[in-house]
Each structure stands twice: as C-alpha cells, then as structure tokens.
C-alpha cells in the first residue's frame, strides 16, 4: 500500500494543518482517541521544530505494514542547519528555544519507533512510527 | 525425487517401521511414559510412522499429517516427541538404505542423504509450523484475556472510584491502565481515585514510574489520586530504590485510603444508631422497672 502524502511547513498555521491531517489518517486507520492525540501531538512537535529551526520543510505521512500489524509513519524533513550533537538533543530537558524542553525525547515517548538522521548544514530527517495496538 | 530409493524404503516399510519403533522407544520411553499409557504410546507411534510413510509416498499431500498433528497438539504431546521421531526416521532410513547398497562411494552417499532429507524436512517443517501456530494463537488469546481483566474501575460512591490492580504491570498494560483510569475518572466524575496495589507482586522502578505517571495524569484531569495497599515489603523496596512517592498521598490499606477520600470530598461515615447509648438506655429502663 502506498498512500504517501506530504504537507509543506512554511508558516505557523501549517502546524495546525499538519496535525489535523495526521489525526484524520490515524482515525481512519482505527487508532483510539488517546493514540490519535499522541500522534497529533507528535506531529505538532515535529512541525514546530521545523518551523522554529529550519523555517521550512515538510511532513510526510505513510501507512506501513509489518508482520501482523499496521501503523502510521510520519517523516519530518527539513533542509535546515541540522543537529550537531544528536545525543544531546535526545536528553530530557535540553532546549535551545526556551520552550519546555520536551522536544525530541517527548516525541519518542509518544510514538513507538523513532529514528533521526541529521547532517550539519544539510538538514534533518526524523522518522516516527506508531503501531496499531 | 529418487524413485529407486523411494521404492527401497516403501518396499521394506515393515522392517523400517520395526527399527524405527525400537529406536523411538529406546530414546523416549523414559521421558513420556510417566503421563502416557503404554498402549497409547504404542498406537501413537504406529500412527505417526504410518503418516510418515503416507507422506513419503504421496509427496505434497499433507492431509493425514495435518489430522495427526492436530490430534497430537490437542493431547498436549510435546513437540520434541515429533522432532525426535523424525530424527529417528532419518537415522533409520539412511542406515537402512546404505546397508542395502552394493556400491558405497561419496556420490551415492550424497544422493541417499539428499533424498532422505527431501522426505523428512518438509514433514518436520510442517509439524513445527503447526505447533508454533497453535502456540501463537494460544498466546494471543491469553493476551486478550489478560487485557480484559486488566484494569477494572469501580465507582464505589459519588465522586470516589477505586481501581484495583492485580498482577505484573508492563509498559503495555500501564498504558491501558492509564487510559482506563482517566476515562473512568471523567465518566464517573470522580474527585478522588484510589489505586489499590495490594495485588501487584513486585513494585520496581519501572512499575513505580508507571504508577507515578498515572497519578500525575489523574491530577491533570482534575482529580486526586491516592495510592493504597502498600505492603511493608513494597514500602521497603520503594525507599531502597530511591523512588520518590512523596508528591502524592499513599495509604497502607484501601480502608484508610477511603477514609481520606471521604475527607477530601467533605464527607464522613456516621453511625445511625449509637450502640453504646442504646445499651445504657436499656439498663436505665431495667432499673426503672
């Protein structure tokens, strides 16, 4: 199944648009209300990171199938400054924006799978998956 | 498929069966005979070897094998009975063919081994997958059953709800517990939620972490969470592990927890009749008479 679709993130309102779109996909896949909120919140955080640090980028949605399971895959791609020390941003409480510092570790807790690729000066790609329970 | 070899095996099936049964009994009688009667063991062995021969004869047809496997699984025979049986068949058959061969060079040897593998391997694969299939379905059924008894929420009175937790708490269950807890608190409009961990055998750092998270989430939706049923050994482990539970109220028993739940909701239990007074009244009335 290939349902990939992407939403560009350029302005603040796109954050709301992206999370609503993701929530609809999650709902149609059969996620419960709590997981829908988890997915939507994770998208919101990812989109906000793009908006804050890279100014523009995109969020892509995909339905993935594993052995006996199905899930939603969300990929956040930007061509921003990249992240110098990934292990540092994965620490709870680390922040550069003056937010709450929930950031990436928070997103990791909201979702099941988490993967990050980043190159300084080139950009960042974060992939998260939530499996249907 | 080497039909010559197949003919040798099928043509001498009686002899092979005899050898096989000897082999199987030698190997396994001490293991299974405790729970299984000798007659049943004998008849099952015969059935098993028949099924093997049928399968060798009509390559591909697995109907008999399926029936046999189902019955064996239902009776609860161990999987290694089947795998050991197949190993014995491989040994016996290979030996038998080799003993009958006039020429014994490397080529012949290889040919024999390959043919026997070709008969044995599909059967082994089939039996193992039947077994693991039945295990998987059992496991998933048990998972569902466990989820069903996972986290009941009992509204004991207006504004007070109890969730008794029983058994080990893993991450998956913790999520379910948290969801049930919060949904229930809202649904029953519960100002106080009591989590009773009397039935949780071990509270380690992870379990405590899940409980703390649940308690904090309960506070966010606007209720108060009281942790009750803390046994002495649980209190010891919690302190020894350095887990900080000071932020939310804990009580040793559900009774005490319920008492503070009543206080929080501005209520109290009153005796409708004062038994002490009644006694005095009775004695008074006797005196008067």
């Amino acid at each position: 199944m290939n349902n990939q679709s992407c939403i560009p993130i350029k302005k603040e309102w796109d954050i709301v648009g992206a999370r609503q779109y993701g929530r609809d996909i999650a709902k149609n896949l059969g996620f419960g209300s709590v997981d829908q909120a988890r997915i939507a919140t994770a998208i919101s955080e990812l989109a906000r990171n793009i908006y804050l640090y890279a100014q523009k980028g995109k969020i892509c949605f995909d339905i993935v199938e594993g052995v006996n399971k199905k899930g939603i895959k969300i990929v956040a791609i930007d061509e921003g400054p990249g992240i110098e020390e990934i292990s540092k941003v994965m620490e709870d409480g680390y922040t550069t924006s003056g937010g709450l510092g929930a950031g990436l570790p928070g997103i990791k807790r909201l979702m099941d799978d988490f993967d990050i690729i980043s190159e300084v000066g080139k950009g960042t790609e974060i992939t998260v998956v939530k499996w249907l329970r | 498929m080497d039909t010559v070899l197949q003919d040798i095996v099928l043509g001498n099936s009686d002899e092979i069966v005899k050898k096989w049964i000897n082999e199987v009994e030698k190997n396994s009688v001490h293991k299974y005979s405790l729970t299984i009667s000798e007659e049943l063991f004998d008849s099952t062995n015969r059935e098993f070897v028949n099924v093997i021969f049928v399968s060798v004869q009509n390559q591909g047809s697995k109907d008999d094998l399926k029936d046999f496997a189902e019955r064996i699984i239902n009776f609860g025979w161990p999987l290694n009975y089947l795998t050991e049986g197949m190993q014995a068949f491989r040994r016996v058959t290979t030996n038998f063919i080799i003993e009958r061969s006039e020429t014994l060079d490397a080529e012949r040897f290889k040919q024999v081994l390959e043919s026997v593998d070709e008969w044995v391997d599909p059967i082994v694969n089939f039996l193992v997958s039947e077994y693991s299939g039945s295990w998987e379905s059992t496991v998933s059924l048990q998972k569902v059953a466990l989820q069903e008894l996972s986290a009941p929420l009992i509204p004991v009175m207006d504004g007070i709800t109890v969730m008794p937790l029983i058994g080990t708490i893993d991450t998956e269950r913790a999520k379910l517990i948290m969801e049930n807890l919060l949904e229930g608190a809202i649904k029953h409009n519960a100002e106080v939620v009591l989590i009773d961990i009397t039935g949780v055998p071990v509270v380690d750092t992870m379990v405590a972490h899940h409980i703390i998270q649940a308690a904090e989430a309960v506070r966010l939706v606007g209720s108060t969470c009281i942790l009750v049923g803390i046994r002495p050994e649980i209190a010891q482990t919690i302190v020894n592990l350095g887990i900080d539970l000071s932020k939310f109220p804990t009580k040793s028993s559900l009774r005490k927890g319920f008492q503070s739940a009543l206080e929080i909701t501005d209520r109290a239990v009153v005796n409708l009749k004062d038994k002490g007074n009644e006694m005095e009244n009775m004695i008074d009335s006797l005196n008067k008479g």
Binding site: V16, R23 | L182, Q213
Partner: protein, 119 residues
Amino acid sequence: MMRIPILKLHNYLLISIQIDLDDQTAIQFQEDLLKKIHETGATGVVIDLTSVDIVDSYIAKVLGDVVSMSDLMGAKVVLTGIQPAVAITLIDLGIHLKDVPTSLDLEKGLIKLRQELEE
C-alpha cells in the same frame, strides 16, 4: 487568528477554549487575559479545556506561563476539563504542569477557587 472570549462573573473570569489553539491565538489570549485581570481586578480565573483535544509543548508552556503571570497579578487560575488523551500526551511529553491547580469541570473549578480564596 481568533480571539477567545473572556467572561466576567463577580470576581471571576471564565474562559472556555473551544478551538484548536495555534500559537498566535494562544499568545493573543495570554495578553487579553492579563489585560482583563488588570481592568476588572478579578481574583479568580477558570480556564476550561473540555473541548481542546491537542496540547503540545508550546501551548502547554503558554498555559503554564499564563497561570504564573496571573498569580503575580493576584488572580488564582484553575484549569478544568483537561481530557484524558491530552493528560496522557502531556505526561508522555514530560510536561507535568506541577504548579497549576486543576479540576474536573467548570463547577468544581469554581468551588476550588472559592475555597482557596477564602483561606
């Protein structure tokens, strides 16, 4: 951008947020509320979140800030009606809103405010 209406009732201000909050609206709301506290001299504020189904870290920060700011201006704030899904995602994000009073619904929130203000 939308403006969130703020209602006055005696010494209290009541706010029910019924839209998906974006950053601009949240900041605007923060300003409006503080201004309103200043104008009315309100001593208590109830912010009802029953209809809010997503609170991310930024919105949570704005809400947490507004509680501390109102406190500085002499108005106690209670958040009410936080949905289970929202509470769980906040906990997952590691946001505990420790100093923020909460209640199940608007009514209980008002009772809580009255009790706290009487003390």
